[in-house]
Amino acid sequence: MTAKRLSAPTLLLLPAVLVLAAVVVVPLCLSFYSSFTPFRLTRPETFFTFIGLRNYRNILSDANFWWAFGRTVLLLTIALNLEMLLGLGLALLVEKASRGQRLLRTIMMFPMMFSPILVGFQFKFMFNDNIGLVNNALQSLGLTQDAIPWLIEGHLAFIAISIAEIWSSTSIFAILILAGLLAMPKEPVEAARVDGCTPWQTFRYVTWPFIMPFAYIAMTIRSLDVARAYDIVKIMTDGGPAGRTELLWTLVARTAYSDARMGVANAMAYFSILLSIIFTVYFFKKLAAARTQIGAEW
């Protein structure tokens, strides 16, 4: 029985590892293999034809793929940065409120409860050019006469999607940064003020380093499911108009299921997985670094 006691953590982690291996790792190996074949769902025999790197060569020379890739990175950059800023602002606003903290915090969490697909749908409804809330409001206020084609014109659709994405995820940042603000000891801030720091200096050199780990936790959580944007885009524009809002994920889905070109789609999917992994590892490292920094100072 000594062997068993030695491996207690192994034993406890075994179920998790088994499930993840069965549902995530093995299928991913399979899809990695099939990204080297011209596999089509409609012709199973193609699964065993090996074509080397041809799929990768094809997608790397495909302009559509690079547009989708660039658009995905752009969306993530814009959305994550704005979410961070807005979340920080919201957290500071709520923390400053003297009354109704509990109610404010509950309202703040409101968007977190919406599934991405609902977010997509509700913004599709609000940005509808004919009956949407946004256009109706703009017209009633007399700001514009014509119906703005929010989801029909490429750039506007991208903006609309970004707004939906930001609306849905800002609260994750806000709630975690607020947790950091509330957990923060008051003495350093007071000491800084006594020493004659301006409010900005106090924030920049005392408050910010302390809440940084919390911001990185939010970033890590967000990067765990950045692909939620797929649901939003799928509902709002489905990659349209004419592929102007096509993201990596919608492109993968279209190639795999509509065109039935599984091999190519798997090759593309590996790029999106790589993107997610890079995001996560980056923020995970930042989180670890921020933690040790705090540990040294307090």
């Binding site: 953590p9 549902v23 409101f110 609000m126 109706n136 950045v226 692909a227 999917a269 933690r291």
Partner: protein, 288 residues
């Protein structure tokens, strides 16, 4: 005197600006939800009216009644979707929590080689985008003939939820002092007993909120469900929502009503767990 007055004025302006900012922010957060609820209660004519009707003239529950009275009248089989969603979400949550508790306990209480690498590895499996994962899963499931079954989706959702559940539960077990379990063991409990009688009750609320989080993930998941389900055998509510857009005209009112039905359980559950959720996610932030 003059300086005093101006300082007071400045302070008051600051308070007012803060209130206005807070109010605007909250309004922006709430508005989309309120608009959905409002639209689900109004007749279609009013939703489509041009120029817009801002104040609802007729309020009725017709959309909800139509939705729950079956396929013929409501357009889509909401009841079936609802049942599928419930079965799949609850089962996968229970299994994910059981596995997550074992894993989270291992991370919180034991030291072993490659611990942080293991943790990162588990998290990385969660980063695989649902749609990228759905390709090979679709292929494997088609071979095993478990596409469009409850079992298939439950399996996928368990795997989806386990990493995050481990993260949360790890945090909750860390908040329970080690000494308590050790004291119980000195008093004659086995480690197994000490876990169930001391540590589990203390971490209980946290584990419950991890469960609710897992439930919500399954309840809301779309990318995998949209590819691994085909018919009313296993279609879940998020996939069902698309049924309203399948035709040339979108039934906005019906969609709004279904959205409200989907959001209410999520709303209630999130409200219950909000406190623990934040605690669990951030417990490791300062102490490491």
């Amino acid at each position: 005197m003059d300086a005093n007055a101006s300082a007071r004025l400045k302070r008051r302006a600051g308070v007012v600006a803060h209130r206005v900012g807070l109010f605007l922010a909250m309004l922006l957060i709430c508005l989309p939800g309120i608009w959905i609820v409002l639209s689900s209660l109004r007749p279609t004519v009013e939703i489509l009216a041009k120029p817009p009707v801002w104040i609802p003239q007729q309020v009725s529950l017709d959309a909800y009644i139509a939705m729950f009275s079956g396929v013929g009248k409501g357009g889509i089989p909401v009841l079936d979707y609802f049942r599928n969603s419930l079965i799949i979400s609850v089962t996968s949550t229970v299994i994910a929590i059981a596995i997550g508790m074992a894993g989270g306990y291992a991370f919180a209480r034991y030291r072993f080689r490659g611990k942080s690498a293991m943790f990162l590895g588990l998290m990385l499996t969660r980063t695989v985008p649902g749609i990228a994962l759905s390709l090979p899963l679709f292929f494997v499931y088609a071979r095993l003939d478990i596409i469009d079954t409850h079992f298939g989706l439950i399996l996928a959702y368990v795997a989806l939820n386990v990493p995050f559940t481990i993260w949360l539960i790890d945090g909750f077990f860390r908040q329970v002092p080690k000494d308590l379990a050790e004291a119980a063991q000195i008093d004659g409990c086995t480690r197994w007993q000490a876990f169930w009688q001391v540590e589990f009750p203390l971490a209980g609320p946290g584990i419950a909120s991890a469960g609710i989080f897992a439930f919500l993930t399954s309840w809301n998941e779309f990318a995998l469900a949209s590819q691994l389900t085909r018919s009313i055998n296993s279609k879940t509510l998020p996939v069902g929502l698309l049924d309203y857009t399948a035709e040339f005209t979108i039934d906005w009112r019906g969609m709004c009503a279904l959205a409200v039905v989907m959001i209410i359980p999520a709303l209630v559950l999130t409200f219950i767990v909000q406190k623990h959720l934040v605690g669990g996610l951030t417990s490791g932030a300062v102490k490491g």
